[in-house]
Amino acid sequence: MVREFFLAFQRTRTGRTTWTGWHNLHQIVNDPTFWQAWRNTGLFTGLALVLGYALPFAVAVLLNELRQARGFLRVLVYLPVMLPPVSALVLFQYLYNPDYGLIDHLLHALHLPAVAWLQDQRTAMLSVVIASTWMNMGSATLIYLAGLQGIPGELYEAAELDGAGLLRRIRHVTIPQMRNVLSLMLLMQIVATMQVFVEPFVLTNGGQGVGGSTITVVYLIYQYAFNFDNYGAASALGLLLLLVLAVFSALYVRLSRRVEE
């Protein structure tokens, strides 16, 4: 049975070993969308780190301080993670609509200028990041919460006796104590966000309409393989992405070993 299992395993992996040759690599590097896709992916990762990395931590610290309704709030934050992504994205597409979307309506009510969220090259990626953060922040929040509960209370006690205010306690106790969890999550977020696909695919149809401003590397892979039938180029690009991510993954493995010790 075990062998059977490993056969299944290998089956799904062996396709990758087809030799692509330099030609494919040459082809994809010379495609102008290649650099655009990497830039966009980098932008997504950057924005997602500002929003999707910092926000769950702040939320976790906040929730950890509340004495009531914590269970309810935890369920609330995690709820979007359980939604089928397409449902959530259809909804966001609706909310972002410049003609009848609720978000622009709220902006209008606050006397702020309307934004053509997904149609504007400058805001398209930001819109994608906001939707993605809403959908995914729940799991990070829960992991942070679990980490926060492991911080010994005496440390806060001692810091307070030394006259440390709220912000200094966060800076000198919470963050150092959470360092390992924080850096693990950072690497995990980088690896995850660099593979972003569904969000731009559903929200902006991959980014075709908006001057390619949301074309990501994985979308480009998808396009090579399934729109252009060029599996070679797709695999070459996939290999490049793999190499980039391997660096972060290797760091992650080293770090998680250290945490376990």
Binding site: G15, M82, S87, Y94, L142, L148, T174, A234
Partner: protein
């Protein structure tokens, strides 16, 4: 969880209990709590509310400017239209079939693999485990292309699995993460118990079925839940592996059929496809959350 009857003395956090007990502290705590409750409900439940009510609006109202906060003209028929027009019953059945099939394969093969690695300790077991952990590090999206080519023409058997449930089931079995979780749990079962069973004449299979598995119920629940949810939420793979829209999962199917569908019908369809996972989550939220944190850092 929040509903514990007796307030357990909590370990102190950032803010000391003494500071909270002071009147000023109590007021601040109440205000922050109320603000958080309002903001979070609006931010996380609000969109769900709009999803459900959006499906109750007429087409004209759903694209009206300014948008309405609740349906002024109830059009409950929209849900029926969505159900029939997108053939959601079919998609729902597909999803259930794929999800539970994948679950069954994963449970049988992954527990066997994990048990073998943990207790039977074959030669090269560690090498195998290392290889599996390495595959955890390979980004899933990079594998989509080779996986697709494999399904298109299965090696040795040369069968085309496109549009068949096998295309979903087979790759899901190779879940290194569940094997790893199960193995870690099996490792924690004392060897003495297993030795005792083998003295009583139980072979490895019997030990697994009547000793190890009953003891592992919590972790099996976690693995099962994640297996189901993964199939349910997956998007790209079912879209590729089941190009025939009548064979797709809810998630992929709603997307493929979304072109040319009126806004309110599309929203109703999205709401319907969200119902099963949300209900599932509300029932199993404890297991899901403990699994998330027990499973280490991989969500």
């Amino acid at each position: 969880m929040a509903r514990t009857a007796t307030p357990v003395p909590e370990t102190r956090t950032l803010i000391s209990p003494a500071a909270l007990a002071r009147p000023r502290g109590r007021i601040i705590h109440r205000t922050v709590l109320a603000a958080v409750l309002v903001v979070f409900t609006a931010a996380f439940l609000g969109p769900l509310y709009l999803l459900v009510t959006g499906g109750l609006k007429t087409t004209a109202e759903s694209i009206a400017n300014p948008p309405t906060l609740y349906p002024h003209h109830l059009a409950a028929g929209t849900y029926g239209t969505a159900w029939h027009e997108l053939n959601l019953a079919r998609l729902l059945l597909n999803t259930l079939w794929y999800a539970f099939g994948a679950l069954a394969f994963q449970l049988v093969l992954d527990t066997a693999a994990a048990y073998a690695l943990s207790k039977l300790r074959p030669v090269l077991g560690n090498a195998v485990l290392g290889a599996m952990l390495a595959t955890l590090m390979i980004p899933a999206t990079v594998l989509v292309v080779p996986q697709y080519l494999t399904v298109l023409d299965l090696p040795v058997l040369h069968a085309n699995l496109l549009n068949s449930p096998w295309a979903i089931w087979l790759p899901s079995v190779a879940n290194a993460f569940s094997i790893f979780l199960l193995k870690r749990f099996f490792d924690s079962i004392p060897q003495e118990l297993i030795d005792a069973a083998s003295i009583d004449g139980a072979g490895p299979v019997r030990t697994l079925v009547s000793l190890v598995l009953p003891m592992s119920r919590p972790i099996i629940a976690v693995v099962s839940i994640f297996a189901l949810v993964n199939v349910w939420k997956d998007f790209l793979w079912p879209l590729l592996a089941e190009p025939d829209p009548t064979r797709q999962t809810l998630n992929a199917g709603v997307y493929s059929l979304s072109n040319g569908i009126p806004q309110n019908v599309l929203i109703a369809a999205s709401a319907i496809s969200a119902v099963p996972t949300v209900l599932f989550f509300l029932v199993f939220q404890r297991n899901i959350m403990s699994g998330l944190t027990a499973g280490g850092l991989k969500g």
